[in-house]
Amino acid sequence: MTEPDRYHEACDDARAELAARLYGECDGATEAALERHLARCPGCRSDWEEMRAAGAELDRWRIPDDPADARDLARETMRRAGGAAPTPRPAVAPARRRRVAVLAAAAGFAAALLAGAVRPELSLTDGALAFSLRLPGAAVEPRAEAEPADRLTGLTRRVEELLARGLEDQRAELDAHELAAEERGLRLAAALSEARTEDRTLLLSLIDTLSRSAAREDQRTREAMVELASYVARSDDVPNR
């Protein structure tokens, strides 16, 4: 008994499968179905021959070997990226815990900005713009340890809601570029770090957006604010997720 032609009157489907076949990506059943179809369809048979010929033609376009020294390329990349490697995550802090700390810090910082308790300062050092944060009467000192996650759970939830609302504008802008969610984070991180002087400004604008809806300041947000201040001051890595 003759098997039916799965691709009868569905030559477009057959052609798509033939492209997969050309690269060895067909399973046995599809392969057999295509064979049956090709035996009956002169149009697809001709297309298949054309595909094979085109595949062979493509190999003629070869790109010259790259004479660049990878080390030079890496060095140039670092120079353009701004020098120091993005700050690695502390080995003792799991990703979730760190995120909690950063989100909490963002809320605190936003609240502090709103209340005028902390002021960003720009200065010119060795021809480069430097950014720093100051509390009244004292320089911000980095904290040695991250906030314990359990103390910040409630605050984090609130901050996540604020982030969702506060970052709406930025999201809309990224949406306009039809980027997938995962890409947005990459783009944002890249945009922030590509220009060292501008990244802080952008981070501040994000925080400023957030600050418009930030809740009133309290002790915990003040502590978190100090954490974010040290975070921003010492790192190019930004909360991008």
């Binding site: 376009w61 790109i63 010259p64 984070g185 990459l186």
Partner: protein, 188 residues
């Protein structure tokens, strides 16, 4: 100790742990493939070098948040595709393609290789094929380049370009048919 070279995933972990040398090792693995990809997408050597550098800068920045959801190579190529698409959006595509076509022979001739003939084979043929590939619409061209030249399975290409596998396979079929037609047209 096995003496085996570390995987790209391992190098990324090292980089995330603060080892800048690991980035150099990654660049060594990525540089040539990245240049080929950029060259076949942009069609111009100078743009290809520029795009590669841009991709590496972005990779440097984003590696700290790499979570291993996609293979490193897929992750890297996605950055390249997005940057290339941004460039396309910034210019008139038609103008760009015409420019690329005009420069095709020159580009092949401007090879930085010590012995371009040995690398390119028949220059004229290479230029003809390059011209045909560069004349494909971007959404078809990226599929052809990723599947044929970079040997990525359709599943991975689909993930990279953000389209269903069947769509990507159909684009490949369309691309191959268009290439063949164009190449035949040139010969006759």
């Amino acid at each position: 100790m096995t003496g085996q070279a570390p995987s790209e995933e391992e190098l990324i972990r090292r980089f995330q742990g603060g080892d800048e040398e690991a980035f150099g090792a990654l660049v060594e693995r990525w540089a040539a493939d990245l240049l080929r990809l950029a060259w076949r997408l942009t069609g111009r050597p100078e743009d290809a070098h520029d795009l590669r550098q841009q991709v590496l800068v972005q990779a440097w920045t984003a590696l700290s948040s790499y979570r291993g959801k996609a293979r490193p190579r897929t992750w890297l190529y996605r950055i390249a595709l997005n940057l290339w698409r941004d460039r396309l959006r910034g210019e008139s595509r038609r103008e760009r393609l015409l420019d690329a076509a005009r420069e095709r022979l020159d580009a092949a001739g401007a090879s930085p290789a010590a012995d371009p003939e040995a690398v390119l084979g028949d220059r004229e043929e290479a230029a003809r094929v390059a011209d045909a590939v560069l004349s494909l619409p971007p959404e078809v061209r990226e599929v052809v380049v990723l599947r044929h030249y970079h040997d990525l399975p359709f599943q991975d290409v689909a993930r990279l370009v953000g389209a269903p596998v069947t769509t990507v396979q159909a684009r490949m079929a369309r691309g191959l048919a268009a290439l063949r037609a164009r190449l035949r047209e040139r010969v006759s």
